[in-house]
């Protein structure tokens, strides 16, 4: 039977091209691999080869024709012995045009992620993180992180830790204290200062059946490795059609420490939260650090676990339980209130809670929500709170453009517009690289006073 030769797509973006030259004439016999035409795209002139063998029955598009659509018929190929007439008949059939772009016609299924559909009355999970009456002990965030890793390493031989100074030095910030002693050099591995390389090796190890925990000395240095984190770890599950992914954790201190200047003081929360395929958590308290890190190690996805140097030494209540975990996507209400909702995460919670205390003295009752995980985000808890307080201020340390608060504002506007009595205000770090000078550094960071001022603005006080 006669077949149509279609205009080929010669680059991923090509939609049409010029049929520059025919290298064959009607009646010529061609074999597969013979060059039959030259086709010009906007980028180059390419030779076009026959795929099948046969006789060129009819040339449908003349040499020199411009704007020939990809996938339109340009010639008819006859099998040995077929006549050109039958070819003409074939060519009058409509060409299967646009076969290459079905996606443009079919609307993509609504993204499940960002904004779930339910309009009002968000149902949120308000169960406490641990049962009432559980014994509690005071623990620093540092100890909680170490315990989480140790517990998971005891329970699963495939979990290992790698990073700079994690083993013999016991961690640049002493998070991995004691782990080398307990688990040995096979599972607690010092790397050279080669972030891109060891992040990639860890991704490969996760493909190979292990559960790596990669410690970045700080997340500033993860920028050396961000290609492996995003292009390899985050996307492989999708690109492989679900066959293989990267069950691993990238963790380390994130955000400003103190006086360490522009290259060492950056909050990556919004950066990583932007990426589908990653999960992102950013604990404030020690119990969350522990419970979320254990969940992260068990999770079958790459998890970005953002810690904070300033919080490492802070103590909090941690439940004394054999296996305490905190699920992703569940915010924690630290303080109930009725006048305004303060939403924050990580070290931002420090400012939010401090502001709430001071506001209480002035008779303003703030509800304070710790998101804890930024991907997934617990929108329901935030929306339920905003429907109660009708006002919202977000607090975070990162830059203002493309902040997590921006995203929350959009969601609140979409889903709770009628409940708002004032625009949502985002308190963020300033839109400047971090200065070294002590006075300027204070100004660059978000402050409790700014949070208080924002609350007063939205409550019209």
């Amino acid at each position: 039977m006669a077949t149509e030769i279609l205009m080929p797509a010669l680059s991923p973006t090509m939609e049409e091209g010029t049929l520059a030259k025919w290298m064959v004439s009607e009646g010529d016999t061609v074999a597969s691999g013979d060059i039959i035409a030259e086709i010009e795209t906007d980028k180059a002139t390419m030779e076009f080869e026959a795929v099948d063998e046969g006789v060129i029955g009819k040339i449908l598009v003349a040499e020199g024709t411009e704007n020939v659509k990809v996938n339109s018929a340009i010639a008819v190929l006859l099998e040995e012995g077929e006549s050109a007439d039958s070819a003409a008949a074939t060519s009058s059939e409509p060409a299967p045009q646009e076969a290459s772009e079905p996606a443009a016609e079919t609307p993509a299924p609504a993204a499940e992620a960002a904004v779930p559909a339910a309009p009002i009355s968000p149902a949120y999970d308000s169960t406490p993180d641990w049962p009432e009456g559980t014994e509690l002990k005071q623990q620093t965030v540092r100890e909680a992180l170490r315990d989480a890793m140790a517990e998971e390493m005891r329970g699963d031989d495939t979990v290992f830790l790698m990073g700079e100074e994690v083993a013999e030095y016991q961690g640049a910030y002493k998070i991995s204290q004691g782990l080398l002693d307990e688990f040995g050099a096979k599972r607690v591995i010092d790397t050279p200062i080669t972030e891109h390389g060891f992040a990639g090796i860890a991704v490969g190890a996760s493909f190979g059946g292990l559960r790596p925990i990669v410690e970045f000395m700080t997340f500033n240095f993860a920028m050396q490795a961000i290609d492996q984190i995003i292009n390899s770890a985050a996307k492989t599950l999708y690109m492989s059609g679900g066959q293989m992914g990267a069950p691993m954790v990238f963790r380390g201190p994130n955000g400003a420490a103190a006086r360490v200047g522009a290259q060492h003081s950056q909050d990556y929360a919004a950066w990583y939260a932007h990426i589908p395929g990653l999960k992102v958590v950013m604990p404030f308290s020690a119990s969350d650090a522990k419970g979320l890190l254990k969940s992260a190690i068990r999770d079958d996805n790459p998890v970005i676990f953002l810690e904070n140097e300033i919080l490492y030494g802070r103590s909090f209540d941690v439940p004394v339980l054999d296996d305490f975990t905190v699920p992703f996507g569940k915010a924690r209400i630290w303080r109930e209130g009725s006048d305004v909702t303060l939403v924050s995460f990580g070290i931002g919670m420090h400012y939010a809670l401090e502001a709430a205390d001071k506001l209480a003295e002035e008779g303003i009752s703030a509800e304070v929500i710790d998101l804890r995980s930024l991907r997934p985000i617990d929108y329901e808890t935030v929306l339920a709170s905003v429907q109660k307080t009708n006002r919202c201020v977000t607090v975070e340390e990162g830059f203002p453009v493309g902040a997590i608060g921006n995203h929350l504002s959009a969601v609140i506007m979409e889903r709770a517009f009628d409940y708002l009595d004032a625009p949502v205000i985002n308190c963020t770090g300033k839109d400047v690289p971090m200065p070294y000078a002590a006075n300027l550094e204070k100004l660059a960071l978000v402050t409790t006073d700014e949070v208080i001022a924002a609350v007063k603005k939205v409550t019209y006080r």
Partner: protein
């Protein structure tokens, strides 16, 4: 030290040798003062002292010509002083004041001087290496006949971008000297734990870049090696690698417990190999200088350093408006 010593010692005058003594001493005293000010809370954040490594920059600066460029990591105070930057401006940056080289906005790790062709102060380990090659690229492009000294550590020498840079510097014959300051430790990691082969100076071989190991505790050996490297680069033959074997006496930064090495190891190096002591005894035994001469230098250096500390304390903090300046050109 295992370093293959550069044999040829330059013919050097007493005056020059005395100058190196003074230059090295300035760095040492300056760093000691910075350590003190850190302890007093006047300097914050990270502060990486250069004590022990002084002969490296002083020797290489002696091989440089006006207009040659240099850049390094966060351990940068010594490089700046050796390049002729003003101790007052460096110290005021350390205290985060307006008269610092970066108006107090950069800090210990991030200082720059266009005038002295010092291109930073880089906080990300290894990042300065391609940038150094880029400066050399510009010089070659502009036919400036200048050489760029790109300093980095033994730890940095393992970063991938270093080898990408070696390759391009070799392909394009860039006039860049890669100075690997091998002080044997990257934070708490001894070199032998982080590198698969003991020598860095051979790491250019695969790219056709000549390399040489130099005793970095010997200022004259460093100078001689530097001159050779400079001549190579300036004559258009492309990049050159110097692995300078040195030692840092202090912790990695101010907050380093330094449990990864023994006190004895540090003491031995200080007592047997100290670059400043070596030059001092050369000057005295060769009768190029008297105790009095050297005392006078010590006094002069101390005065410069004390003055810089006073300057750095008195200089005001940057005005609040400075938060918002210099973000865009």
């Amino acid at each position: 030290m295992a370093a293959r010593k550069t044999k040829a010692k330059p013919n050097i005058s007493a005056q020059e040798l005395t100058q190196y003594y003074e230059d090295m001493l300035l760095i040492r005293r300056f760093e000691e003062k910075a350590g003190q000010l850190y302890g007093m809370g006047l300097i914050g954040g990270f502060c990486h002292l250069y004590i022990g490594q002084e002969a490296v920059v002083v020797g290489l600066e002696a091989a440089a010509e006006e207009g040659d460029k240099r850049l390094t990591s966060y351990r940068d105070h010594g490089h700046m002083l050796a390049a002729g930057m003003d101790p007052n401006g460096v110290m005021a940056e350390l205290t985060g004041r307006i008269d610092g080289y970066s108006k107090g906005k950069g800090g210990s790790m991030h200082m720059f001087s266009k005038e002295k062709h010092f291109y930073g102060g880089h906080g990300i380990v290894g990042a300065q290496v391609p940038i150094g090659a880029g400066l050399a690229f510009a010089d070659k492009y502009l036919e400036n006949n200048r050489v760029t000294f790109t300093y980095f550590g033994d730890g940095a020498a393992n970063q991938g971008q270093v080898y990408e840079t070696f390759n391009m510097a070799a392909i394009w014959d860039l006039p860049v000297i890669f100075v690997i300051e091998n002080n044997q430790y990257a934070m708490g990691t001894a070199q032998k734990r982080s590198t698969s082969s003991p020598d860095f100076y051979v790491r250019g071989e695969a790219f056709g870049i000549p390399g040489e190991a130099v005793d970095g505790m010997d200022v004259l050996a460093v100078k001689a090696a530097g001159q050779k490297a400079v001549a190579h680069c300036r004559s258009g033959k492309g990049p050159y690698i110097l692995e300078v074997k040195t030692y840092r006496y202090r912790g990695h930064s101010m907050s380093d417990p330094a449990k990864y090495r023994t006190r004895e190891e540090v003491q031995k190096m200080r007592q047997e190999r100290d670059s400043i002591e070596t030059v001092r005894s050369m000057l005295l035994t060769g009768k190029h200088a008297s105790e009095e001469d050297l005392k006078a230098i010590d006094k002069k250096v101390k005065e410069i350093v004390n003055a810089s500390a006073e300057f750095a304390k008195d200089s005001p903090e940057p005005a609040v408006e400075e938060l918002w300046t210099d973000i865009y050109a």
